[in-house]
Symmetry: C2
Subunit: 296 residues, 2 copies
Amino acid sequence: MAERIGFIGLGIMGKPMCRNLMKAGFSCTVYNRTRARAEELVAEGAVVADSPKEVTEKSDIVITIVTDTPDVRNVMLGPKGVLEGARPGVVVIDMSTISPSVTQEIAAALEKKDVEMLDAPVSGGDKGAIAGTLSIMVGGKQQVFDRCLPVFQGMGKNINLIGGHGAGQMTKLCNQVAVSLANLAMAEALMLGAKAGLDLEKMLAAISGGAAGSWQLSNLAPRVIKRDFAPGFMVKLQQKDLRLVLAAANELGLGLPGVSLVHQLFNTIEAAGEGAEGTQILVKALERMAGIEVKG
Amino acid sequence: MAERIGFIGLGIMGKPMCRNLMKAGFSCTVYNRTRARAEELVAEGAVVADSPKEVTEKSDIVITIVTDTPDVRNVMLGPKGVLEGARPGVVVIDMSTISPSVTQEIAAALEKKDVEMLDAPVSGGDKGAIAGTLSIMVGGKQQVFDRCLPVFQGMGKNINLIGGHGAGQMTKLCNQVAVSLANLAMAEALMLGAKAGLDLEKMLAAISGGAAGSWQLSNLAPRVIKRDFAPGFMVKLQQKDLRLVLAAANELGLGLPGVSLVHQLFNTIEAAGEGAEGTQILVKALERMAGIEVKG
């Protein structure tokens, strides 16, 4: 018999992910802090529960995807939380992006009740969530991963078990490090070209296919030069993730000067009221210093 | 009748580029400061000249690819240089990577003698030079570019006229900006993963295909985790190019904080005697601060 899925957190990511699981044939019991968002899925076959505890009582595998570390801790370990409803054999998959070290703490707390946990943050944005093509970076035990693989396959494509508890979260943070600095690479290349008066479309065509090439350069630079800052991924969420990166670096005693710089530049973007724009707006931090605009 | 080519500068890039032109059917008169390197091409059909002046007298299109800005200025405008041997109608193509503003000065000096110039720096390294697959970024006039296109096609694949004099050089500098920061993106992602004890091969497999992806991450990160620092592109040449970037930024009144950071980190690599290693050794600057090594 197919696993019964519990789904907690029906935001911009969670809702399409849950929808894809139902399309794949899984029955879903759902919970969202704002209940109206959960009700929207009832017509598609979901059952709405009143608490994470109730979701867990009615499910074999419970998925959480909420905003930040304290939210996950509360949903898991707080009153009427997952732990209160859990019985031995239940698996909890946290697909939020949160602190790797807190992930390990939560996994340890659940393990005391014979509840297994996987951390499984995603990349690919809401587009990937809707299309079911998310990359899923998983930490936890191999046998638990194997059991949950059909569930992951209902939501994503590039699915990798990296290591033990927290390894999925840490890999997501490595991803955000590389994303942030590739964004700065794009921004500074555009700034130099713009200030020098180059035809930016021609410049991008000349450099994007070689050693300078990146996903950011190919996908976001054309939007920047059209002044399109609509979010693929919002600045405020990138900043949340960079805070996790820098906190992890603090815990590890590691210096990451480049990421720190990007984080500071994004602070000025948030201060300008642009936290809900897409991350490609990073270039505006440099534009304001230079008194120019990058335009195609 | 095919254009007669003059080729000045037979280093790690120039020699295979000249060889490809001869294979494509162009006759070449060559000059190199160290004459022995020129003599090596005689068996393949090249004629050796005693000076850039003599090369120019015997050629319709003169290509220069030498180390740095002063070398180009000297070859072009110095004693027994290109200008002394030039007659109206000759085209000079500088394929070195040098200062965009000095390029404009040289083009103006040549134009007074009715000599046209293109700046046409390349990317793709010695591998691209040998394979004839270089990217060529060109600045100058459209009609001169059109005349020289068959010559470029003998050496490269992605050939783009970007704008007027200096636009090729400036585009190359934009390329180096993006390359440098993509390198830092790779280095910092590897450092976080290594310090956290992740399986780095698995981490790279999980993140390289998505929004974090780049040429650097796909091509150089696997070498780093095997501790392979053999040069695709040498640190000391990258540093020369970053000095050009930062000088251009100074001239333009532009702040490029990320590139400045990479340049400073590379200074510590050069101070450690590693200037002849490949650029992927940037990660060692961070390793030394953290007291760890990134290993697969």
